[in-house]
């Protein structure tokens, strides 16, 4: 123990003696470790603790999927859920919930609230009960007995002023009185973004429906039952259902998964893993830099190590001494990294809009907790060992007698060390290139997502949502009249150039627009039951000009397409290509839902260019446009083209709509460019992080190149003196040094390019606007890296050219 303390004391002394080199190492390690700590904190929150429930590993989500059609996760039909409840044995509890938005009116401003219909046992299943009041009772799931509501803590404080007597009071929900039976604890918002819960009541007709999939099912595993065992049981039940009900269940596969996997989107998982790999690369580059510094130090101290060995020090003691120094460096780097990580997390958390953050599972639990500290310590130890082990082992293999008999002159570094140092630089350059290419592609992808929408000037569009409550607007003619009045009032409001109604604007709902099934007249379903699905847009004729959607064939929707005229539709070009390849779709008929559903057949009258509604999928999503007068919706988005800053028109819009119905809340009131930016902010985050990591990697790699070349010049001082004395000019020396440095850089680029290409292929399959053979990334960025490396080599080259030959010849 005492000898360990001796090594520590000596290590501190040695690091203090070489302050500049130590500082360079500490900064490099701080950046590498800090980046890893930040990503660990995020990955831990997203991937390991996205939900703060006890025994979350025992909660399983049971979803449907159609892998061959790219549907990873889908809700199940009500009848499926009720069958499972009867047959499944692997679960203590099986519960369900469904999305539901409600309007709160009455004694406060009308407010649109994200609610969820929940079965009575949902809270028991996830193990979190209301903090005030109670959960729902089973009988409250019966239609007509379902007028109860549980509030979130946020809604209770924000709308009801934390009224301590709220439980038992009635509030108006969608025009009806609901009794508040409970309030959840602070911070609870499951399912994500929930502000209120109502009983999940299902009509007898819906209970046996197997085609509409809108139930999300969770189960708590029975004690002693594993996920694999439960999955096997559920799959066999699902198989029996598919055989019994082929029309609705064919092609669907049960996909059970742990709750934490369910709540974390595939994209979040993929990008988190990408960033974890990226910060790992940065750490490797930092360790390589530190290793190179340690090599230089070891070489300068070879005499000392020979003496220590001659005095009885074993190889292990010498190695331990050097590893102690490396560990001291990495621990100092780790201490600095915690400050960096704290700052980094603060910045990341501050810039995420709350409207988006509430949809990211685990976002609220991102923190520098004890696990992050432990991770930082572990990474520091690993970095210390990684960066110190090779120099330490090489130091223990000094030729003792050669080193000691030369009058105390330090040994030259030896070919093995020189090769190792060069290899480290090559690795640094290749890793830096991969990071830079990844960053470049992500930035490009992000800009592509912005640019694809620029055609319709989103900054001058104001958008907002409204949902008509069912009781008052149950009749289509009432809804039609309402929408007509909205169009007329807003169309003549000052500063409004044009107005349209549409179901969803591009990138609404976080860019995740759902699709619905539709049938094509005369087309038999495929053998494996492939779905024909599309985004359904109920819209006004003005929408196409508002968004500059060009007509490809046929005609657009007009104001004459109303309730009394034949049912028609306009489809997107992607729908035409996918479902009518080689045919003219005009005049063909489609209907929403299955072929046997009671929705009307729609004649295709026009084909329009695609609009990029969803950034989550790379390809365009087929879209069906229906005239709003023929299918007046409950929920719609109002889109206004304004002459000036869109938000200035909000008071006018509120006033006009209040004049029609004062109890209707408007929500998601934003300029369209804000909708787009908030929707793709996740990509923006990833792109900024990758760009930051890329720049750090570039700086570290160029410092690495500089360090190696600088040391090489020092080592070769005698040789340079000889060359100069034999007639070499300054340019010859510069060329000699530069060519060596560029050779190493070139090797790094040659290794990094294929790896970068693989990364590019992976990213291009994920992101719109990214191509695996992107010229800017594969030519521009390597050239940038080469230029920076050349600059890093130039300084040592110039120093070499300025050496005094006489001094160089005497150099030892």
């Amino acid at each position: 123990m005492n000898s360990v303390w001796q090594d520590i004391r000596f290590g501190i002394r040695m690091l203090a003696k070489n302050q500049l080199a130590s500082l360079v190492c500490i900064v490099a390690l701080a950046l590498g470790i800090g980046a890893n700590t930040v990503m660990f904190s995020m990955a831990e929150a997203f991937l390991l603790h996205p939900v703060p429930f006890e025994d979350a590993d025992r909660i399983v989500a049971l979803t449907d999927s159609r892998p061959h059609q790219g549907i990873d996760i889908n809700a199940v039909a009500p009848a499926t859920y009720f069958d499972w409840k009867k047959e499944a044995r692997s679960f203590d509890q099986l519960a369900a919930y469904a999305w539901r938005e409600v309007n709160l009116t009455g004694d406060h401003e009308p407010q649109r609230v994200q609610a969820f219909g929940a079965t009575a046992n949902l809270f028991a299943t996830i193990g979190v009960m209301p903090e005030k009041g109670r959960a729902f009772l089973e009988e409250e799931e019966e239609p007509g007995r379902d007028r109860e509501i549980i509030l979130s803590y946020g809604l209770w404080t924000q709308r009801y002023g934390s009224d301590p007597q709220i439980v038992g009071k009635n509030i108006t929900v969608d025009g009806k009185p609901f009794e508040v039976v409970g309030v959840m604890a602070k911070g609870f918002d499951f399912p994500l973004s929930a502000e209120a819960w109502v009983p999940l009541s299902v009509d007898p007709k819906d209970r046996v429906d197997r085609s509409s999939r809108w139930f999300w099912v969770l189960g708590r595993l029975r004690p002693g039952v594993s996920l694999e065992e439960a999955s096997a049981e559920m799959r066999s039940i699902s198989q029996r259902q598919a055989e019994a009900y082929p029309e609705t269940n064919k092609g669907w596969q049960l996909r059970p998964m742990p709750l934490r996997e369910f709540v974390t989107s595939t994209l979040t998982r993929q990008y988190t893993l990408l960033l974890l790999a990226a910060v790992g690369f940065v750490l490797l580059i930092a360790c390589a830099n530190v290793a190179n510094v340690q090599f230089a130090r070891v070489t300068a101290r070879s005499n000392e190590f020979a003496v220590r060995t001659a005095l009885g020090g074993s190889a292990w003691r010498v190695v331990r001494l050097l590893l102690t120094e490396s560990l001291l460096l990495s621990l100092a780097g780790a201490a600095a990294s915690l400050l960096l990580a704290q700052w980094g997390l603060k910045v990341a958390l501050a810039h995420m809009p709350p409207d988006i953050a509430k949809f990211v599972a685990g976002w609220k639990s991102i923190d520098l907790d004890a696990e992050a500290f432990a991770f930082t310590l572990a990474i520091a130890v690993l970095s210390g060992i990684l960066s110190g082990i090779a120099p330490a082992f090489l130091s223990s293999r000094t030729n003792l007698s050669e080193t000691l008999k030369d009058g105390g002159r330090a040994m030259s570094s030896g070919r093995a060390r020189h090769r190792l140092r060069s290899t480290l630089v090559v690795i640094e350059v290749s890793l830096a290139l991969v990071l830079l290419v990844g960053a470049g592609l992500l930035v490009k992808g992000f800009r592509g997502l912005l640019n694809v929408n620029e055609g319709y000037s989103p900054s001058t569009l104001l958008t907002m949502n409204l949902t008509l409550p069912e009781p008052r607007y149950a009749k289509p003619e009432v809804r039609r009249a309402f929408h007509g009045e909205v169009l007329q009032r807003l169309g003549s409001a000052p500063g409004v150039q044009s107005v349209a109604l549409v179901s969803h604007v591009p990138y609404a709902n976080g860019g995740d627009l759902g699709t619905e099934l539709f049938a094509i007249e005369g087309r038999e379903p495929s053998e494996r039951g492939d779905l024909t699905d599309a985004i359904i847009q109920d819209t006004t004729s003005s929408y196409f000009s508002l968004l500059h959607i060009a007509l490809v064939d046929g005609r657009l929707l007009t104001d004459r397409d109303g309730a009394e005229t034949p049912c028609i539709t306009v489809i997107s070009q992607s729908l035409a290509k996918r479902y009518f390849p080689g045919e003219n779709p005009l005049g063909k008929r489609i209907k929403i839902g299955g072929a046997n559903s009671d929705t009307p057949w729609l004649s295709i009258v026009g084909v329009v260019k695609d609009v990029h509604y969803s950034w989550i999928v790379k390809e365009e999503v087929p879209t069906i446009y229906r005239p709003f007068r023929q299918s007046p919706p409950y929920s719609t988005t109002i889109v206004l083209r304004t002459t000036e800053t869109p938000l200035l028109h909000v008071p006018v819009v509120r006033r006009e709509l209040a004049a029609i119905d004062p109890e209707l809340p408007l929500y998601n009131i934003k300029p369209q460019d804000q909708v787009i930016q908030e929707s793709i902010i996740g990509i923006a985050y990833v792109a900024v992080m990758m760009a930051t990591l890329g720049i750090i990697a570039l700086v570290l790699a160029s410092v690495g190149v500089f360090g190696v070349m600088s040391y090489a010049v020092t080592e070769r001082a005698h040789e340079i003196g000889v060359r100069m004395s034999l007639g070499a000019k300054s340019n010859d020396i510069v060329r000699m040094v530069l060519s060596r440095g560029m050779l190493l850089t070139g090797m790094g680029l040659a290794i990094g390019l294929p790896i970068a290409f693989l990364l590019a292929r992976a990213l291009s399959s994920l992101l719109f606007g990214v191509e695996a053979t992107d010229l800017d990334s594969f030519v521009g960025l390597p050239l940038l890296l080469a230029a920076v490396a050349a600059a890093a080599c130039y300084l040592p080259a110039r120093r070499a050219a300025r050496l005094d030959p006489l001094k160089a010849l005497r150099y030892e």
């Binding site: 005492n2 000898s3 001796q6 000596f10 002394r13 040695m14 003696k17 005499n303 000392e304 020979a306 003496v307 220590r308 060995t309 001659a310 005095l311 009885g312 020090g313 074993s314 003691r317 003792l400 007698s401 000691l404 008999k405 009058g407 105390g408």
Partner: protein
């Protein structure tokens, strides 16, 4: 094979020791069939022209160099049969080195330089402190204990080098040109110190070009081109070719 040379076996016995290296397909010998004994408490000088193999022989005797052939017995132990770890243990506890360039560790104080060989023997801290203090006192360098080597004169540094070599009470001291970087007065001091150590029973083998230094010993071994050409116990023997 264990060789016995009398009632008390020599401290060192070399039999047909050879060292060579290959270069360009040819074998070059540094030492050729070196056979000699060194008795306990002897003061032996190894002399010869540059390139004769003196320092190499010293390195082998000190077990710093393991690439040789032949037989080497140290205190009746067959060094040629030991592995690296065993050799290290043997030299750690029995041999002290004094180098021409002192080879003090620049970043350690005088006290710490003396302590280093003790710490490699896992001697407890208190005992180490006691040994170091005794040695500082013995060599009259207590006042210098907190100084760094670059704050000492050449003679003082070599004094510390000798103190470091003897702190562990080795059976054998190997000195490679111990006065090579000192002026004559300092060199004399060091040689007198060696004489005193030898009189106290420490076996000393030195490599030197200096006839004056050689006179302190009681035997001279002449090396030439790797061969032992003579071993003379008389002080005048260094004059023979």
């Amino acid at each position: 094979m264990k060789v016995r040379g009398g009632p008390v076996a020599p401290l060192i016995q070399l039999r047909n020791l050879e060292k060579s290296f290959e270069a360009g397909g040819q074998k070059f010998y540094v030492l050729r069939r070196v056979t000699l004994d060194v008795q306990r408490a002897e003061f032996v000088t190894i002399m010869g022209p540059s390139g004769a193999g003196k320092s190499t022989l010293l390195s082998i005797l000190g077990m710093l160099d393991g690439a040789w052939s032949g037989e080497y017995f140290f205190n009746e132990q067959p060094v040629h049969k030991l592995n690296t770890k065993q050799r290290n243990e043997l030299h750690k506890y029995n041999i002290g080195f004094v180098f021409q360039s002192y080879h003090l560790i620049d970043t350690l104080t005088v006290y710490e330089n003396l302590e280093i060989p003790l710490s490699y023997k896992n001697i407890p801290h208190k005992e180490r402190a006691s040994l170091v203090c005794d040695t500082l006192d013995r060599f009259n360098i207590v006042a210098k204990k907190d100084l760094f080597p670059n704050q000492l004169s050449g003679g003082q540094q070599q004094l510390v080098g000798v103190a470091r070599a003897v702190i562990q009470n080795p059976k054998l001291i190997l000195a490679d040109e111990p006065t090579g970087n000192l002026h004559s007065a300092q060199g004399e001091e060091i040689m007198e110190l060696f004489k005193r150590l030898n009189d106290a029973g420490t076996t000393i083998i030195q490599v030197t070009h200096s006839e004056k230094n050689a006179a302190y010993g009681n035997r001279i071994i002449q090396l030439r081109d790797g061969w032992v050409v003579s071993q003379d116990t008389s002080a005048a023997a260094h004059t023979s070719p």
